[in-house]
C-alpha cells in the first residue's frame, strides 16, 4: 500500500509544481529575461524536455536519492537535504518525545481524576494548545526566556564560540554523547530546549485527549474491574492494564501526527532560525526556487510514508490480536 501511495504523492507534487503554474522557469524570474538565458536555465535544470519525459526523469531519480537541482545555483537538492535533515530530525525526535511523554502524563492524570478541577484544567490546556499558532508560542517563549530573562539563546543550533562535535549522525546532542564531548552536549541542549518545548507543546494536546479518552474507556471495561476484584494494586491496573491497552491507539496517533510534526517543524525552525529543512524550504520560497521546493516537499512526503509504514509494522508486533 505504501508504494502506490508514494507514487501518487510524487505525481501530485509534480502536477502542482511543474504543470499547475504553466512554466516554473518563467515564474522564477521576476523581471523579463532574454530568451537565451531562459533556454540555458531550462536546459541546466532539465526543464527543456517534454513534460512526460520530465515526469519519468523525476520518478526515476527518486529511488536513487535524486531530488532534482536547485534553481539558485544548480546544486543537487539532495546535498542540502543531507546537510540540513539531521537538524530537523533532532528537533522532531525530541519534540515528539516531549509531546508524547507530557501527553501521556497529563492524559493519565486527567483520566484518573475524571470530572475534577484538574481534569477540566488539563482539558482546557489541551484545547488551548490546539488553537495557538506554533510560531506565536515560539515568540512568546523567546520573549520570556531569551529576551526578558536571558536564560536561553534566542535561536540557531549552536554557539559559534564553541566548536561543534565531530559529525557522526549530524545530530549535535547524539554526536556529543558519542564523542564524549560534554561541553558540546550542554551547549546544544541549551539551544534545543525552547524549540523542543514550542513544537512539543503544540503537539501534546492531541496526545492528552487521546490518552484521556482511551484510559477512560479502558478503565470502564470489564477486565479492569475484574482485575480490581482479584485484588491487583491500583498502580498495576492503571499502568500495565489501562495504559497498555490505551497505548496502541496512541502509537497509531504518533504515526498520524508525524506529518503534523514536520509541518510544525517548518514554522518552529523559522521562528528559531534553526538551520534545518524547514528554514531551507522557507528560504527557497523567498528565492522562488521551485525545483528545490519540489525536492524538499517530496522528501517530506516520502519520510512520512516511511514512518507510517514502520509504525504499522510495530503495531502489528505489539498487539497480540493482530500477531500471526
Amino acid at each position: 500500500m505504501t508504494i502506490p501511495m508514494i507514487m501518487l504523492l510524487l505525481t501530485f507534487v509534480f502536477v502542482i509544481v511543474r504543470i499547475l503554474p504553466g512554466d516554473p522557469a518563467l515564474l522564477h524570474f521576476e523581471r523579463n529575461v532574454s530568451p537565451e538565458t531562459l533556454a540555458e536555465f531550462r536546459e541546466a535544470l532539465g526543464l527543456d524536455v517534454p513534460l512526460l519525459n520530465q515526469y519519468f526523469n523525476y520518478l526515476g531519480g527518486i529511488p536513487f536519492g535524486d531530488f532534482g537541482l536547485s534553481m539558485q545555483d544548480f546544486t543537487p537538492v539532495s546535498e542540502h537535504i543531507q546537510i540540513r535533515f539531521p537538524a530537523t530530525l533532532e528537533l522532531t525526535i525530541y519534540s515528539m518525545l516531549y509531546a508524547v511523554l507530557l501527553g501521556l502524563a497529563l492524559g493519565v492524570k486527567s483520566a484518573k481524576n475524571y470530572d475534577s478541577v484538574q481534569d477540566h484544567g488539563i482539558r482546557m490546556f489541551s484545547i488551548v494548545t490546539y488553537a495557538i499558532p506554533v510560531f506565536f508560542l515560539g515568540m512568546i517563549l523567546q520573549s520570556i526566556f531569551s529576551i526578558y530573562l536571558g536564560w536561553l539563546p534566542t535561536g540557531t543550533r549552536f554557539d559559534p564560540h564553541y566548536s561543534t562535535p565531530a559529525t557522526i549522525t549530524g545530530m549535535y546532542t547524539i554526536d556529543s554523547i558519542l564523542t564524549g564531548n560534554l561541553t558540546a552536549l550542554i551547549v546544544s541542549a541549551r539551544y534545543l530546549i525552547l524549540p523542543t518545548i514550542t513544537l512539543g507543546t503544540i503537539l501534546c494536546g492531541i496526545f492528552i485527549r487521546l490518552t484521556r479518552t482511551n484510559m477512560l474507556e479502558t478503565l470502564r471495561q470489564d477486565f479492569v474491574v475484574a482485575a480490581e476484584a482479584r485484588g491487583l494494586s491500583a498502580n498495576k491496573i492503571e499502568y500495565t492494564y489501562a495504559l497498555r491497552n490505551a497505548f496502541l491507539p496512541i502509537l497509531t496517533m504518533i504515526g498520524l501526527q508525524f506529518a503534523a510534526l514536520l509541518a510544525g517543524a517548518v514554522l518552529t525552525e523559522t521562528t528559531f532560525s534553526w538551520p534545518g529543512l524547514g528554514t531551507y524550504l522557507v528560504q527557497r520560497i523567498a528565492h522562488r526556487d521551485y525545483t528545490a521546493l519540489q525536492g524538499v516537499v517530496v522528501f517530506f512526503g516520502i519520510l512520512v510514508a516511511m514512518v507510517t509504514l514502520i509504525l504499522d509494522i510495530l503495531y502489528a508486533y505489539l498487539d497480540p490480536r493482530i500477531r500471526l
Binding site: 509544481v17 499558532p133 506565536f136 524550504l281 522557507v282
Partner: protein
C-alpha cells in the same frame, strides 16, 4: 423545570429561581448572569467607545443601527415564542417567520447604506447588513438555542462559548471599517514602533500603522480564507465520501488511495507548495488550504457511511426496495452530517492556523491589507528588540478566533457524536 417554561423564557429562564433551595440556586444564577452581563457590557461599551472615536465619524450610528436590528430580531423571536406557546403556529412556521424578518431587515439595511453615503454604499451596506445579521444571530442563539443546548450539560456551554467568541469577532470584523480610530491600511499615521499610549492605545507598528485599528480590522482575511476553504472542502469532501463509499468497488479504492496519500502529507508543507505555485491572493490561499483538508471530510464521511450501511434499518430499507437515492439522502446522510459538521468546525480553526502559517513563511498578502497573520509575521523582526506589543495583540486575536472554533467543535463533538456516555 419544565421544557415548556424553558422554551418560553429563553436565557432569562435562569433568572427564575427553582423551588426548594432557591436562595442558593438563584445566587449562583445571579453570579453567572452578572459575569455574562458584565462581559457583554464591557464588549458593548468598548464598541461604543471605539465608535465614538471612529475615523469615519459615523461609527456610533453604524453600531447603533446594528443594535437596533438585533432588537427587532429579539422582538420577532419573542413574538414567535408567544405564538408557539399559544399553539397558533408550528415550530417550522416560526423559524420561517424569523428567516423572513432577517431577509427583510437585510434588504432595508442595504438600502439604508445606499442612501446614507452613496459614494461608500457597497462598504457601508455590507457593514450594516453583516453587522445586523450577526448581532441578530447572536440574539437568536442566546434566546432560543441556548436553553436547548444547556440541557446537554457542559458541552452545551462549551459550544455556546465558542460560537459567541467567533460571532463577536465576525461582528467586529464586519463593522471594523466604520469604528476604527485610524485608517488601518495607511502607513505613517503615527510614530514608528511606539509603545501603547493614550493616542495609540495598543501602540504602533514599525511602519507607523495604528495597531488598534489593525487589530480590529485584521480578522477579515483569515475569516474569508477560512470560510472559502471550508466551503470548498465541505462541498467536495462530503459528496465524494458519500458517493465513493456508498458505491464501493474500485472507484472507492482509487479515491480512498488518493485521499490517503494527501492525508499522509504534512498539511502545511503541501499548502506551502500549492500556495507558492498559485501566487498570493485570498482565493489562492483558500484553495491551497482546501486541498489539504478535503481528506479529513472524506475519511470521516466514509467511515460513517460504511458503519451506517450495515445497520439493520438501512438493510431493512434495501430489502423493502427503497431507491438508492432515498437510502443515501434519507437514511445515510442524516447519520453522516453531524460528524461532518464537527469536522467542519475544527477545520475552521485548522484553516485559520494554516493561513497564519502560510503568511508566516512569506506567502501572505501585501502589507496594505490589515491582517493579523501579517502583523504577527512582520512583528517577528521587531519583538526581539523588546517591542512586545507588535506581536502580542495580533497573536492573541488569532488564538482567540481559533479557540472559538475549537471550543465550538469540541462542544458539538460531544453533543452530536456521543461516545463517552454514562
Amino acid at each position: 423545570m419544565s421544557q415548556q417554561a424553558k422554551a418560553i423564557s429563553g436565557v432569562f429562564y435562569f433568572l427564575i429561581p427553582t423551588s426548594g433551595d432557591w436562595k442558593e440556586k438563584s445566587r449562583n444564577f445571579l453570579i453567572g448572569l452578572s459575569i455574562v452581563l458584565i462581559g457583554v457590557l464591557v464588549i458593548v461599551a468598548s464598541f461604543i467607545g471605539l465608535a465614538l472615536r471612529s475615523n469615519s465619524g459615523i461609527g456610533i450610528w453604524v453600531v447603533g443601527y446594528t443594535i437596533l436590528c438585533a432588537f427587532i430580531i429579539l422582538i420577532a423571536g419573542a413574538y414567535r415564542r408567544f405564538k408557539l406557546h399559544e399553539g397558533l403556529i408550528t415550530p417550522t412556521r416560526g423559524w420561517f417567520l424569523i428567516t423572513v424578518v432577517f431577509i427583510v431587515l437585510g434588504m432595508i439595511s442595504a438600502l439604508v447604506g445606499f442612501f446614507w453615503i452613496p459614494e461608500e454604499a457597497a462598504s457601508l451596506s455590507s457593514a450594516l447588513v453583516g453587522g445586523g445579521t450577526v448581532l441578530g444571530v447572536i440574539v437568536i442563539l442566546l434566546y432560543d438555542v441556548f436553553p436547548q443546548l444547556q440541557d446537554r450539560g457542559s458541552a452545551g456551554y462549551v459550544t455556546m462559548t465558542g460560537l459567541m467568541i467567533v460571532l463577536a469577532i465576525v461582528y467586529m470584523t464586519v463593522v471594523s471599517w466604520w469604528i476604527v480610530p485610524y485608517d488601518p491600511t495607511r502607513l505613517d499615521v503615527g510614530p514608528y514602533g511606539a509603545p501603547p499610549s493614550a493616542q495609540f492605545p495598543l501602540g504602533t507598528t514599525s511602519l507607523g500603522q495604528d495597531l488598534l485599528s489593525r487589530t480590529i480590522a485584521g480578522g477579515g482575511i483569515m475569516l474569508q480564507v477560512a470560510l472559502i476553504s471550508v466551503v470548498v472542502c465541505f462541498s467536495i469532501g462530503v459528496p465524494l465520501g458519500l458517493g465513493a463509499s456508498y458505491r464501493g468497488g474500485n472507484v472507492d479504492k482509487v479515491i480512498s488511495l488518493v485521499m490517503d496519500s494527501i492525508f499522509a502529507f504534512p498539511g502545511l508543507v503541501l499548502a506551502i507548495a500549492i500556495a507558492a505555485m498559485l501566487g498570493p491572493g485570498v482565493v489562492n490561499m483558500a484553495l491551497a488550504i482546501a486541498v489539504v483538508y478535503i481528506p479529513s471530510y472524506f475519511r470521516v464521511v466514509r467511515s460513517q457511511v460504511l458503519t451506517v450501511k450495515e445497520l439493520p434499518y438501512v438493510e431493512a430499507a434495501i430489502v423493502m426496495g427503497a431507491r438508492d437515492r432515498d437510502i443515501l439522502f434519507r437514511y445515510v446522510l442524516p447519520n453522516v452530517l453531524p460528524s461532518a459538521i464537527v469536522v467542519m468546525s475544527i477545520n475552521f480553526a485548522d484553516a485559520i492556523l494554516t493561513a497564519a502559517g502560510l503568511t508566516f513563511v512569506g506567502l501572505g498578502l501585501p502589507v496594505t491589507v490589515p491582517d493579523w497573520g501579517w502583523d504577527l509575521t512582520f512583528g517577528s523582526h521587531q519583538y526581539i528588540a523588546g517591542k512586545w506589543w507588535v506581536i502580542t495583540y495580533p497573536g492573541v486575536m488569532i488564538v482567540i478566533l481559533a479557540l472559538g472554533f475549537t471550543l465550538a467543535g469540541e462542544g458539538l463533538n460531544e453533543i452530536l457524536t456521543p461516545r463517552l456516555k454514562e
